[in-house]
Symmetry: C2
Subunit: 381 residues, 2 copies
Amino acid sequence: MKVAVLGFGTVGVGVYEMLRNARCLEAGPVLVRPGKDDAPFKVTSIEQIAEDPSVDAVAEVMGGIEPAFTYGAAVLRAGKHFVTSNKALVAAKGIELNAIARENGAAFLFSAACGGGVPFLHNLSIARETDEILSMGGILNGTTNYMLDAMQRLGLDYEDALKDAQRLGYAEADPTADVSGLDALRKIMLACAVAYDKLPAEGLLHEGIESITAADVAHFQARGYTCRLLAKGSRAGDSVSAYVEPVLLRAGAPECAVLENYNMASYLGQCSGSIVLMGQGAGRYPTASAVVRDLTCIQRGKKYMLEPGCAHTDADNSQVKHAYYVRLPAELAGELPAESAELDGDVVRMITKPISVSQMHFTAARVRSAEASIFFAAIGG
Amino acid sequence: MKVAVLGFGTVGVGVYEMLRNARCLEAGPVLVRPGKDDAPFKVTSIEQIAEDPSVDAVAEVMGGIEPAFTYGAAVLRAGKHFVTSNKALVAAKGIELNAIARENGAAFLFSAACGGGVPFLHNLSIARETDEILSMGGILNGTTNYMLDAMQRLGLDYEDALKDAQRLGYAEADPTADVSGLDALRKIMLACAVAYDKLPAEGLLHEGIESITAADVAHFQARGYTCRLLAKGSRAGDSVSAYVEPVLLRAGAPECAVLENYNMASYLGQCSGSIVLMGQGAGRYPTASAVVRDLTCIQRGKKYMLEPGCAHTDADNSQVKHAYYVRLPAELAGELPAESAELDGDVVRMITKPISVSQMHFTAARVRSAEASIFFAAIGG
């Protein structure tokens, strides 16, 4: 199977090298920007790939929704299999791409878009065929895990943790998508689509790590907790629940063993029980290995991760409830039902009674709209 | 796809129920012992399955090498796909069954035979297509993990931990295959066959947990270690290294988060990096879910986990070296090169200099042949 590659950045180079070394796959042309075509295998127009009859499959690793969507649609319409590591693309256009793929008998897989090297979506898509997926979740963003780990194990403050992550290439110059939780949210959206045939669009909630301070860390560490940014998805009646938020975990929880920029993803099957997968969530070769794994699966006959009936839906995060650890200005303590609270200067640190995910996130938004600072984290089970 | 089931014990009932509930699979006849055919779907002779043209695939969950091998060969020769959870069968006869399957165009998968519900062999078989598997291993036996966990977290002694495991159905009346490490060894043998095309036969080493005492646990717990029984496999020149032994791990190692009868399996890929999978290694529905997952994969076009060239080989465990924690009679302390040692009554507890796995296991065998008692555990990384 000859595979063209769209994009020749960090992951693209890795995919190309793995294709060159694979026994059963062949490297085809690589799409680069005009002026970057400094070798014979590089081409600059998508037509050179879509119209090349020797190309069987296309791996997209450019990122961004456009022109990735236009290119993906073009090669699928030409009957070529399409695999991608692009979570923004699949979160926005996955249902459309899946329909185009099925109309044209071409495969569409995207397991590299969630968890990097961790084969989460791949296993989820098989499990859901014969098992009921009760819930899913995990540490799906390596940048924020690296930062939280550095703050907690090395005692760094937020700014230094971010600078370290950027220096090591774990965070981008603009880290917003990572630190806001949006990146992890897109990944759990894809998991919902795979497990439940519902790709949530509206009603999603994501709290990142931008509000955490060294004082917060010191406070909950003294009480035996470790903080991780977790994405969670589950059924909620006819809809799905899907959200991202910091969670405080007791020592010994498997998530606490996830250090640096590693990812951990899990699903709870009615029959299988809890299945946990851990590995590198980003990086050249881990992500490339996931892209190439999808190509191997296509060779073995697997074509889709999304059912034909997969549709957009609104998420419903009003049914899942937890207790939360919350730090907010003392004068706003009445915004939330406290189980216990202690005054720390002019802020209150409280443990709430169990409240819904949506109540917590909406309260935080209201507090912030009043220009006040708030940090919250669910108390993990 | 209509699936017959061989065996109607714990796992067989689970497989049958999952087949009845699956959207894309159909439950066929179930083979039971004569006299146990108390329902129309139960049959008592393998011919009723091998000669039934409506049966597409057969799931074997009886255990034992015979008659499982004869039955498996018969249905494969009849062109029916064959999946099994039987590690003893695949360790002894996997290469033969794979050849018969390929001659007859039928599929042969056995991911339930290693790790129960944990999809380890499945992912390993895909990864090895395009990545170099540098090493593999993990906690592959739930019985011994339950016992070690009970001894360490609950302070039970060996006999009480075993009784608890038996009471909960985690250990069989004769627990030898589990506590000796043989069960875990068979599983890592299968992983070597999948990853390296070599099914090791001679030269394998397995140390179980039969020699561990509450005093050993107290000693290494006081030094911050947790003990797990780990299976390990890797390339060793033209051969493979494959062995099972207790390992002492520092708090925070992912293996320490594996509690009760859970399993954890991992592989280190040249490109993917470390991929870790965790879940229930045994039990009705977890194991059944792995059997049914293999059937789903067959429907999607996957047919084999073993290459045609997979062959038996002798294992070579002389190249891997660790330091070991060893407790043995004081007068035998000279048997091993000590890095440090302390006298504890009439025994010595030592940390050895790095020595090969084979030197450690052969020394233990020599000590035991002299009727003396010894416990050892590798110092984990």
